[in-house]
Symmetry: C2
Subunit: 550 residues, 2 copies
Amino acid sequence: MNISALQQARASYQPKLPHALKGALKVVEGAPTESAADQAEIKKLFPNTYGLPSIHFEPIEGTWPSATVNCGVILSGGQAPGGHNVIAGLFDGLKKLNPQNRLYGFLLGPGGLVDHKYIEITRDMVDEYRNTGGFDIIGSGRTKLETKEQFDKGLEILKKLDIKALVIIGGDDSNTNACVLAEYYQSINAGVQVIGCPKTIDGDLKNSEIETSFGFDTATKVYSEVIGNIERDCNSAKKYWHFIKLMGRSASHVTLECALQTQPNVTLIGEEVEAKNQTLDDIVTYVASVVAERASRGLNYGTVLVPEGLIEFIPAVKRLIANLNDMLAVKKDEFEMIQRSKRLTYIAINLKPENAALFLSLPDEVASQLALDRDPHGNVQVSLIETEQLIADMVAVKLAEWKKEGKYDGKFAIQHHFFGYEGRCAAPSNFDADYCYSLGSTASMLIAAGKTGYMASVKNTTAPADEWIAGGIPITMMLNLEKRSGKMKPVIKKALVELNGAPFKEFEKHRKEWEKETAFIYPGPIQYFGPSEICDRSTKTLQLEHQKKK
Amino acid sequence: MNISALQQARASYQPKLPHALKGALKVVEGAPTESAADQAEIKKLFPNTYGLPSIHFEPIEGTWPSATVNCGVILSGGQAPGGHNVIAGLFDGLKKLNPQNRLYGFLLGPGGLVDHKYIEITRDMVDEYRNTGGFDIIGSGRTKLETKEQFDKGLEILKKLDIKALVIIGGDDSNTNACVLAEYYQSINAGVQVIGCPKTIDGDLKNSEIETSFGFDTATKVYSEVIGNIERDCNSAKKYWHFIKLMGRSASHVTLECALQTQPNVTLIGEEVEAKNQTLDDIVTYVASVVAERASRGLNYGTVLVPEGLIEFIPAVKRLIANLNDMLAVKKDEFEMIQRSKRLTYIAINLKPENAALFLSLPDEVASQLALDRDPHGNVQVSLIETEQLIADMVAVKLAEWKKEGKYDGKFAIQHHFFGYEGRCAAPSNFDADYCYSLGSTASMLIAAGKTGYMASVKNTTAPADEWIAGGIPITMMLNLEKRSGKMKPVIKKALVELNGAPFKEFEKHRKEWEKETAFIYPGPIQYFGPSEICDRSTKTLQLEHQKKK
């Protein structure tokens, strides 16, 4: 056997589809749309794809027109559970439209289009990958499709293979590029439609029309499973504080969702830290005070969730990093001459006083990491910082001070964890399996409907799948202008955690109680075969956001 | 809701029992037993409990005698999935024997018996904890029951509560102590039976009569789930070598089982390293050669499993640590006077030359850890060493050398992980839920049968639960003499991975293929509601060991 028993059983799972995607359908157009901001500028940049209407599909009697159309598909950026099901939904949709339709997969991401690396995706291949995790069917990559040269090079192979439509499965950046590509192909009458699909475990690609990005559901369930297991261990052994860092790039959606599922004692949310202009010391003092309060009742254990992007949200740390980068850029040669053992001192005396003070307050390891481990451009590598350990270590220092002052009397033993790779390629939950298959199927119908510059959209996702609403929204609708490398560029607005949104409000409502009590919840592993309320439930984030709408 | 949907559904799961435990039963005695080794000495130490027969239960018509008997239960040592079900099985068994029977739980481990901390375990409590992970129902602890004073102190409270039997749920050490306690209470006619239950995720408490310790099944399934997810990520991103350390104390059973379930490129087995007298450099060279070979075919990614106890199995490292401990004990005062920055040098020149060479070859961080982070007794804290990172870092150094020599041309980017706490308190798999409930039920029947110094035993565990064989074995049968703190003591022989055992042989048969190919298997999460071949399967270790027997 070269696949697991579970994988064997899951291969035959038939993802649930929205009613409208099950048979023939018609396109229902909404009103023309506007971009998220900077309407005049965006309109000027996207004359051919701006202002298109949102659309959704409705079922009709009869059959659907079915010209032959070959299609290409690209997986872009980090893995997310369900990518294979988007491809399966797209494949099945295309074949249903016309058995002659072919689907080509470009290999290892957008680079495959530019370098003409591809394979034809066959039914046997699709069958092997249905309901599996990973992006290994064609691989993914991080090449950015941004230049006219890339677009033209891509068009050569699209023409050669008679590909009339390209589906790009990616996050906000990849979909921004899909939008630019759609506009360009439209402007030169290339005869190639471009459709995007919202992918990212980070959950930061969402808006009024895109309820969630795929993979968020599965990844947060995997993380919540292991967090819950650690919490149960924490509550059994009663001797450790577990500091757990979670993937999710800058946004704290993953951390917030896991907090709602597992109810840890402390959850740090980057967006809140920034909004409240908190310092690193504020954060450390807050965590230490929760630890001390529990210790005063004999509870020397607990669980703390830390979002991967936290450090970048702390305004003072942001200023320190900017100061460091600028200073070292100017004094590069001088700095190189300094003996390694004196470099931290050199840095400290060359920083602005307020930044130097923060720099000196950091544990040695972190200070070294900031000062000495720099990327090829000379910049600080923030992602290398073990934030969960940094916070834990600084809390230990704070508690030691409080102990001397007689304000704290407890034990503080630390365990730290980082979860990321454990969830990005997990086999999709039923939700993600269904949602992704629906997105792929929707993409095929957008192609058949002749649309370009659209993102596949499946809404009403807290209802049973049959009632989901499939359609598409013009990607231009999500754009605004943001500064990138010094220039204003049209990009999809990243969705950060909203402090007045329902998920954060729910967390805030219970925060005090979770700090004091041991209110842990143990979600357990993703289930595929049991009762629907266990196997098909969506994220708390989605449930809370929908409750609010109603 | 303060429990998860899955926990709610699992609360009503009725664990499967062996046929013999479902109704009335009779005790079938085997021949008298002998200890594992050192028979004469062990017999002398255990005059009252040595040489008893193994027993098993067989179903009979009619009813089972049912005197009232109050019972105490203790959870000892590290958490393992299923502990709550042992208590549930024991509780239900006692109540079935006689509804007047009471069960008391001693709190936070063996210390609860000595300090007279206990609660009565009621049906409501048991119902709340059925099929859940963790030891939080009464907590666990690591106090060792070893002295006559402790035994006598314990007897006071046992007498007070009219407890006639004590069930100790623990690993090899705890069961050794249970055996000593049984012998002592028997020798003074205390009227208290002592029964042990085999617990440990490490899998190192097993022998001809104990097929597996509980928790091993669930923990290895949780680790295999996340390892499989990482492997799928590895195989999708194609850019990292993932080094994964796994819990399991000295023995490598957990690592071997996970390797059989997930087929990573490299698996290190401590017992093999020791048997082959490998050096740290041998291990590093082996891993580097697998990396280099894959790189030569463009495969710059892979997965490596490292058992927690590896470092202690490397004979040269063992010698270095012994040398370090001895040398620093002698030169303690002198060492304390040395400036921190010169301490590594001081150590290097004071070690035996062959140990100094190894010490100097270690990455700075590890050398510092060995030299400077010492426990209160001045000993090296081996468990703090991040072995997976040590090996990875040294492989990087080796590959850099080979690159200079033109023997390697690839990329080597590392991610490292440690899994332990994620699995110890997971909700038990069906196997562990059934096995633990059966062990608890068996313990109640051993009590009813008047046995003491026995360990509950449930065999034939790769067959359906109905066909499992329940009984008990005298703990003295597992004993041999080993040196502990300089004195020969009777202890249960720890089961290490046998290099001629079926599980290791199976691994060895495929090792070369797994190194070269990307033969990953993705087991996915534990399932509770699906087909029996997914939900009820036992470990590969158990399956292979049973196949061999047949």
